[in-house]
Amino acid sequence: MSRRVDILPVLAILVGVLVLGLSAVTLADDGITDKEVTVGAGLDLTGAVANRGVNIKAGMEAVFNRVNEAGGIHGRKIKLVAYDHVYQPPKAVINAKRLVERDKIFVMMGHLGTPTTKAIMDYLGEKHVPNIFPATLASIWTNSGKWHIGDLATFADQTGLIVDYLVKERKFKRIASFYQDDEYGLDGHQAGKARLKHQYDRAYAVEVDYKRADIDFSSQAAKLKESGADAVILQAVYREPPRLAEQCHAIGYHPLFIGVSAIVLDKTIELGGKHVEGMMGVEVYPLPTDPGAFLDLYRADMKKYFPHLALDTTNLYGYQKAALFVEGMQRAGKNLTRDSLLKAIESIKDWDPGWGLKYSYGGDNRRVMSRAARLVSVKDGKWTKASEWMELQETGRK
């Protein structure tokens, strides 16, 4: 009798400990120990947009290196595991599976490219791996549920700004769209179409597409010329705008070229030379040469860790992502989980890293951290600001 009384509590405690232990095991997220957090990224390091991939990776690593040298965040160092997806969706899927299942990453961070990130979107959601600040400003990340969160003003929002500028300020009657025929190009293309229709009761003068990694745009140039458009909106990356401008100029056609932030990098100017002079774009964060304590830190970190890389909007793009991520990690505290990290990022409000622009979480239906934008243009071979900062309004794609 007395024996049973002795055993029961012991058994109960044992079972309790076991259950607790098991639940602790199942609850703990992958990719995190007391000493380290493993962060994954899929980037294009050798393909059609390798310039972006290499620079974004460097920008993120510059932040992580500095943070790690200072002892990490709450004692945890950040380890970045990045694979090359060559800007090809099937490869992006293989890489994502490798990162999640073999490397056991805690989060996906700065994944490059709209079509490539869209390809892994459902998979990350299924595995409950947060897709943090993908290096694509498509609007899809802002309204696809809790596992996805964007950082800056979307291509759709940016195109709304471009359309308003062309119609209201420049009083242009005929506006054409030149877009990459995939999830990336369509985001801004369709938003612009909607903006023209609903706001101004108009349509594009002509819609001209191209395929990823195309290299010749003479037929596109001919169609644009025939449409007589005053301005061509570019939903392209850095290789196409200079080549298109060149081919338009070759047939005596000189419209205003204006593109979303993806075209605003020095490579565009290096490739296009005199043909891109006057080209305009949208900036969603300051230029690498602007003043500000955060930009001083960026310049110092880049010089220290990547002295061979020129300061460019692309590495600053990665740098600000990583800085924002680190801020979220700081806020999440010592007891870090995927959920607590997402909550911490969502708690960011009016946070200025030191460059005059503030990050604020946009809400559950608009999961971005900033909606600031301004216009820039190529002047004497340099991207130069052409407007003050403004807060973008919502521009739907429908």
Binding site: G47, A50, V54, I215, S218, K223, A250, I251, L271
Partner: protein, 291 residues
């Protein structure tokens, strides 16, 4: 409208000429040695980087660069033949094909390791300013590319018909045994063929790299040229030239009349149609098998 169409045709012809040059490289090697060299596109890419280095890093003048690039490309062809292809000449044809694919990967990755995967602009002597002649509208660059390609093709024609070495190469292509009996060094001819093919690829590289920018993936243009060679009838030299040119023009026109998607597949649709109607290609010899 007419002006835009003619400009489409001329710029398509310029791209087509470059396809034709690369296609020639494929065909010459195939005729002489029965090998399909899948590294042909990488000869184009490599020559782009060679001329970039000479032009930008060493600051040499354009014509010197052109000459040196052609010679270095030729040497590269010989090395590839000696090191990769000749030791396995008796292996099944698939092994040789895989070996050339391997060589192309090695060349591409080497360029990536040395120069990075970034896109680089390459200056050219031909300006991109427009020229107008009646309904014809084109750029100096288009004219330059077409002109240079025609000169190369003419030179090749003269070489094959007027020189002893050229005739020896044709003889080897016809029958290696007979050529050997006539005192032709077949091995020497093999090396020379690879040298010439790579050198033509070199010219193509110098012509195309400034137009479409330079990067280690430039060699994929070889796939299009290969399609051009098949279109013309693989093994036929005029076929390679006409096939390449047709492809360039077709691409431009289909892009103009349809969209980017159709432009991308138009090459292969035409290829399939031609092969269904005429399996040996436009200029290919019809193989007759007597049973």
């Amino acid at each position: 409208m007419v002006e835009i169409l003619t400009s489409q045709v001329v710029s398509g012809l310029a791209t087509g000429c470059v396809y034709a040059l690369i296609a020639l490289g494929f065909v010459l090697i195939f005729k002489a040695t029965d090998v399909v060299n899948f590294a042909q596109g990488e000869f184009v890419m490599a020559s782009g980087f060679i001329s970039y280095t000479l032009l930008i890093r060493f600051g040499l003048s354009y014509w010197v660069v052109l000459l040196v690039t052609i010679v270095v490309s030729g040497v590269m062809g010989v090395i590839l033949e000696r090191v990769v292809v000749r030791p396995i000449m008796d292996a099944p044809i698939f092994s040789i094909v895989i070996a050339t694919i391997g060589a192309s990967t090695v060349l591409r990755s080497s360029a990536g390791i040395v120069y990075g995967y970034d896109v680089l602009p390459l200056p050219t002597i031909f300006s991109k300013d427009p020229i107008r002649m009646g309904v014809l509208s084109f750029t100096v660059m288009d004219a330059g590319v077409i002109g240079s390609s025609l000169v190369i093709m003419m030179a090749l024609y003269l070489f094959f018909t007027r020189t002893k070495t050229g005739m020896a190469m044709r003889a080897t292509a016809q029958s290696q045994t007979a050529a050997r009996l006539m005192g032709v060094s077949v091995k020497g001819i093999f090396s020379l063929t690879w040298a010439i093919s790579a050198a033509i690829g070199g010219v193509a590289g110098v012509l195309i790299a400034p137009i479409i920018y330079l990067d280690p993936n430039l060699g994929v243009i070889g796939v299009k040229a290969f399609a051009g060679a098949i279109l013309g009838g693989f093994g036929s030299i005029p076929g390679a030239i006409v096939g390449g040119m047709l492809l360039g023009i077709l691409e431009n026109l289909s892009g103009y009349f349809f969209n980017a998607g159709i432009k991308q597949v138009s090459t292969y649709i035409l290829l399939i149609v031609v092969l269904v109607v005429r399996p040996s290609g436009l200029f290919g010899a019809v193989a007759v098998k007597r049973v």
